[in-house]
């Protein structure tokens, strides 16, 4: 009798243990323990993208301080501490945030921290202008609307894989965010529709705006920096000025948050008018930063195009 009552009890315990095994196995991950994912981001646009995708279902953590310039950033001890406590990190991965991999390595997370390459499925384009005949990948996919939407979709898809319980929400939010970005773009497209874009030629100090120009069918004739973040030599600058004159360029786009040192001498030598576009860096991290900065960029672009329109003759 005693044996008979003990057997079902032992079976029940074994059964309960078997049922608990998956829970025990998943106990280490943030989502399985009921905690929201802690998602690290490297650049300002990715903060906006991820914040809009996850809403209140996860925590977004910027890996570096908001005022830092990603082009020449040197990792700090606080960055390493932050990296130690992340569940996943979203990176550009093709030229703006190489320092992130140093931080992850220093935090001892190389093997344990999932990395989402936001550009994994974005069709990259070369830097416009003369790059000595070499086609160099342009990493500024986040200064755009179409490539930005593609990155939002990629991030949402990968986050859904890591956090299946919230996958549907992430996808729904990503689609809603993409719709908002397209509405923003459509507002300016309507304004551009009345303008003649065929003769528009521009130069840029920094090769940051090719994806944006591509969306509007605009053509960049020359890029002042010979390589990303590299100042031109006197000879290269002279060649660029010559190219600007040859191509009848009337507009030069400089970088809003960086020095205008490069733009001023070119303005003086060629008579181009300088407009400043945002690289979407240097402000406080926020969910709406990308939309605000892109609206400003599109407004600047519209003003530049309007500047190049032939003057209407007055009756």
């Amino acid at each position: 009798m005693t044996t008979a009552t003990q057997r079902p009890s032992r079976w029940r315990r074994c059964l309960a243990l078997l049922m608990l095994m998956p829970v025990v196995a998943l106990a280490g991950t943030a989502t399985a323990s009921g905690k929201p994912l802690r998602i690290g981001v490297t650049l300002h646009p990715y903060y906006s993208f991820v914040a809009n995708i996850v809403g209140d279902r996860a925590q977004v953590i910027a890996l570096i301080p908001p005022e830092a310039n990603p082009h020449n950033y040197q990792p700090q001890p606080d960055d390493i501490t932050r990296a130690m406590n992340l569940d996943v990190l979203v990176v550009n991965g093709i030229g703006h945030d190489e320092w992130a991999f140093q931080i992850v390595k220093a935090a001892g997370r190389t093997a344990t921290l999932p990395i989402i390459q936001a550009n994994a499925s974005v069709a990259l384009i070369p830097i416009a202008g003369d790059q000595s005949g070499v086609k160099v990948v342009n990493p500024h996919t986040f200064v755009s609307t179409t490539a930005a939407i593609q990155q939002v979709f990629e991030i949402a898809r990968r986050l859904g894989e890591l956090d299946p319980d919230n996958a549907a929400t992430y996808r729904h939010n990503a689609l809603a965010y993409a719709a908002r970005i397209r509405e923003l773009r459509a507002r300016f497209m309507t304004r551009f529709a009345a303008l003649d874009l065929s003769a528009f030629r521009c130069a840029t100090t920094h090769a940051g705006y090719d994806y944006l120009m591509q969306e509007f069918g605009l053509f960049v004739s020359a890029v002042i920096e010979p390589r990303h973040g590299v100042a031109p030599t006197a000879r290269q600058l002279a060649n660029t000025i010559e190219a600007i004159k040859r191509a009848n360029v009337r507009v030069l786009f400089a970088e809003k948050n960086f020095s205008l040192d490069l733009a001023k001498p070119i303005e003086a030598a060629t008579g181009v008018k300088v407009f400043a576009l945002s690289h979407i860096t240097g402000n406080a991290y926020s969910a709406d930063e990308f939309e605000v900065a892109m609206a400003e960029n599109l407004e600047t672009l519209a003003q530049a195009i309007e500047f190049t329109q032939p003057a209407r003759s007055t009756p």
Binding site: S121, P126, A179, T190
Partner: protein
């Protein structure tokens, strides 16, 4: 009086010039070593090399085609998500409401050739109508229908009639798992050098290639990371 030649004593190296020979051999060895390294050094992964029927988006397309291809990629993703959620497809009318490029008739559409798009739904293809793929056999051994209609379960967005200089015609082909296609639920993009190329009717890859269509290979972030850092785990 002794001659000048008598006064000159030639001193021969004791080693018999072997140092010169050794130096020559060492130089040759260094040159051979450097040449061997240059010839045999491990190559970094480059951009994917297109086959004869493919074209790379990065450096094989003109500016207009490149922009339309860039717009088709996220559009394809959104169309697939829409289909997963609703079972339906984003019609061209719906695309206008969604402001979805490259179908939405805005400034982008205007500056990129005013391409005329058509949506060809599964079951309306020439061969697809005969396949009865809605009842595709579950038994793999009896999968002849899937084989014969491979690609014909696809939904296709066909764009032609573009007016921009050097522009192509376009196909966004979205495979469908039920028809047994190899790229189920994924989008592939094809271009034809004739902007007025007729709709191919059969969207199997071999038929498209035969009709002069070329598949566009995107050079994406994954490819770039592999090029720079090698294959990622």
């Amino acid at each position: 009086m002794a001659s000048l030649s008598d006064a000159i004593t030639v001193v021969r190296p004791r080693s018999g010039r072997w140092e010169s020979l050794a130096l020559l051999l060492a130089t040759l060895a260094v040159i051979a070593g450097v040449a061997g390294y240059v010839a045999l050094r491990p190559q970094k992964a480059g951009p994917p090399i297109p086959l004869s029927w493919q074209v790379r988006s990065f450096d094989g397309l003109g500016a207009v085609d490149q922009a339309i291809h860039s717009a088709l990629l996220p559009a394809g993703e959104e169309i697939i998500w829409f289909n997963n959620d609703t079972g339906g497809w984003i019609t061209l009318e719906h695309a206008q409401k969604l402001l979805l490029p490259p179908f939405y008739r805005d400034g982008f559409w205007k500056t990129h050739g005013e391409v005329q798009w058509q949506l060809i739904l599964p079951g309306t293809h020439q061969a697809h109508g005969l396949s009865g793929d809605a009842h595709a056999p579950a038994d793999p051994s009896a999968n002849q229908v899937s084989q014969a209609t491979q690609g014909q379960g696809a939904t296709v967005y066909y764009g032609a009639g573009g007016r921009a200089t050097g522009q192509s015609a376009y196909l966004l082909v979205i495979g469908h798992a039920h028809a047994g296609v190899m790229w189920a639920n994924q989008a592939t993009i094809w271009v034809h050098p004739d902007p007025n190329a007729p709709y191919p009717g059969i969207v199997k890859p071999e038929s498209l290639v035969g009709d002069g269509w070329r598949q566009v290979i995107p050079y994406d972030g994954t490819s770039e990371v592999e090029r720079v850092k090698g294959t990622q785990p």
